[in-house]
């Protein structure tokens, strides 16, 4: 009797855990679903043959509300990432989108970014992130950031190494309100950072952080660290404290097995809470997989709203199916 099987199964499961029961007919399945509804448990998957017999996967308890678990700022569609370009003055050996000086630019374009920002604001996006490549290689990056920041809080990701000449003029032209700079720095001393990003890059990044702070920008520092040795992260945070970076603006993230990385966390669409990402090639599930065909949601960039709708819908389905499996990958 399927109800007895379900009760025995539930007695072994912690709240939120899932297990399977066999159903022998469509009527059995219907009874199982009624019991789950009545008892506050959730059928999350059904593998059935034409007669209705097969296996049901049932999770103990009601589905978790992603809004409560993730918070409103991490819900799909709360953030929109835009890859302004893909070329970069560096060729970091773990770059998740394989950027380098030789990488084709694939720019989104100033006008299109402005339209996308407007569409995002209209849809209900809370926050914009501009990344690359190195956005400050673009001659009109100041204009791009201004068009975004007038609508929504905007973060620009940069290696902080090109704040001179035209890059410095563009930086100075950016409003301080509603804008944060996220500068990459992997360690408290040059060795680790330079081993991935190139000789002398640590010193230039630190100089960029100091310059941006001096100009009055809110600066967030993000480290990409594969396997920190004991004490490494502590030393890193202490160093950032000394630089004047607020603790909430000190981000440490793992290496993703994407792009140029030869090792790192294996990322799949099913394992990630989406952060909608637009590149010149299309709309992707997450910025860490912005060149991964498996993460491409649509190659149609505009209008943006259908892609935002589709990703929200797909995530809701995914959450219902595998809520416990979806993870945040904190790029920012």
């Amino acid at each position: 009797m399927v109800i007895l099987d379900l009760m025995r199964l539930m007695a072994t499961l912690a709240d939120g855990a899932a297990g399977q029961v066999i159903v022998t007919s469509a009527a059995d399945r219907e009874l199982a679903e009624k019991w789950c509804t009545r008892s506050g448990n959730t059928v999350v998957d059904a593998s059935l043959d034409a007669s209705g017999a097969g296996t049901l996967t049932v999770r103990r308890g009601r589905p978790l509300d992603p809004l409560l678990v993730l918070g409103p700022d991490r819900m799909p569609g709360a953030r929109l990432w835009m890859y302004t370009n893909f070329h970069c003055n560096l060729a970091c050996d773990y770059c998740c989108v394989a950027s380098s000086p030789q990488t084709p630019r694939r720019e989104l374009g100033t006008d299109r970014i402005a339209r996308l920002a407007r569409a995002a604001a209209d849809w209900g996006v809370h926050e914009l992130f501009l990344t690359g490549g190195e956005p400050f290689l673009l001659p009109d990056i100041g204009t791009i950031v201004r068009s975004c920041a007038t609508l929504l809080p905007t973060t620009v990701l940069t290696n902080g190494m090109v704040f001179r000449g035209r890059g410095l003029r563009e930086l100075k032209s950016i409003p301080r309100d509603n804008v944060a700079l996220q500068i990459s720095l992997d360690s408290a001393t040059p060795e680790l950072h330079d081993s991935h990003r190139g000789q002398g890059s640590w010193a230039k990044a630190v100089a960029g952080i100091r310059l941006a702070l001096g100009l009055g920008f809110r600066v967030r520092v993000a480290a990409t660290v594969a396997a920190p040795v004991p004490g490494e992260l502590n030393a890193f945070h202490q160093y950032l404290d000394e630089l004047g970076i607020a603790r909430d603006d000190q981000v440490v993230r793992p290496v993703a097995y994407e792009g140029l990385a030869s090792e790192g966390m294996v990322i799949t669409r099913e394992s990630l809470v989406p952060e909608v990402t637009v590149t010149a090639d299309g709309v992707y599930w997450h910025p860490v997989a912005a060149t991964d065909e498996d993460a491409l949601v649509t190659d149609r960039i505009e209008p943006l709203a259908p892609a935002l709708d589709e990703i929200s819908r797909a995530f809701a389905e995914q959450w219902a199916r595998r809520a416990s499996a979806a993870q945040l990958f904190p790029c920012a």
């Binding site: 007695a11 709240d15 019991w35 008892s39």
Partner: protein, 273 residues
């Protein structure tokens, strides 16, 4: 700072840990040091009661049988502190296959009666007590016992499901199960074509927070007051209340244990393990 009150409970499901972590957090979040608590989990109610009497814990979350045994072992030197609303008016339900034609206690005479674990008050001890009071002594039935969760006092529900399986398999005519199990199965709403209710006992009480009478009132009173203040309409409280199976905590209803005291005496149930 005052030492936290230590509450003991039995781990009968994986959810016991989140339940008690949630309850502990509820007392911790209040920020009142005189209600702070921690918990200790035991594998069976025998060990829980022994630990309470030995002074290893301040309060035991007892089943009705564990409460009665605590009273018997301490010669009444214990305190009932609080219970769930669902512990009041608990009943035992006698179920048979649909269309059995059985109705009322007398119809069970001469039949094969499936009982749960011998230390389950609701699925073994009280069914025989109520049937005897209704004129059907155990000697008038063929009693089949399913002692599949001994030590847990029937909390797992496993032995009751085994008893029901035996009815469905035609190996028994009637099974005695707790009203909470019958409700959890979906009773006549979902079991209409499978099982039917033959008879139901009067209400009695189930679980009870129990302390020794040597525990000072100033130690337990703030804790009990705070416990009774848990609010179903507060989503954080409700998650814990749902997992533990209640809507609100209530003050003790001691009359509800009289049938079990009587049953334990009639059946010679050992006051110890």
């Amino acid at each position: 700072m005052r030492e936290p009150l230590i509450v003991g409970a039995v781990a009968y499901t994986p959810n016991v840990v989140p339940i008690w972590e949630g309850i502990r957090d509820y007392f911790k979040d209040s920020g009142e040091s005189d209600t702070a608590m921690d918990f200790v989990l035991y594998s069976n109610y025998g060990r829980l009661v022994t630990s309470l009497i030995a002074g290893h814990i301040d309060v035991a979350w007892n089943t009705n049988l564990a409460y009665v045994r605590t009273v018997m072992q301490t010669d009444g030197h214990c305190l009932a502190l609080a219970q769930r609303d669902t512990d009041v008016g608990f009943t035992t339900v006698f179920v048979a296959r649909s269309g059995s034609g059985l109705t009322g206690p007398v119809s069970i005479a001469g039949k094969r009666l499936a009982l749960g674990s011998a230390d389950s008050a609701h699925a073994a001890i009280l069914p025989l007590h109520y049937l005897a009071r209704a004129g059907v002594p155990a000697s008038d039935m063929q009693v089949l016992r399913f002692d599949t969760d001994i030590g847990k006092h029937g909390d797992t529900g496993r032995s009751e499901l085994d008893a029901i399986e035996s009815v469905l398999a035609g190996e028994a005519d009637v099974a005695a199960i707790g009203s909470s199990t019958w409700e959890a199965m979906g009773r006549d709403e979902l079991m209409l074509d499978t099982l039917e209710e033959v008879w139901r006992t009067d209400g009695y009480c189930h679980c009870m927070f129990t302390a020794l009478d040597t525990l000072p009132a100033k130690r337990y009173t703030p804790w009990v007051d705070k416990l009774l203040a848990m609010d179903w309409d507060n989503p954080e409280h409700r998650r814990i209340l749902e997992l533990e199976g209640l809507r609100r905590w209530v003050s003790p209803h001691l009359d509800g244990y009289k049938p079990l005291f009587a049953a334990v005496e009639e059946q010679g149930v050992d006051p110890r393990w």
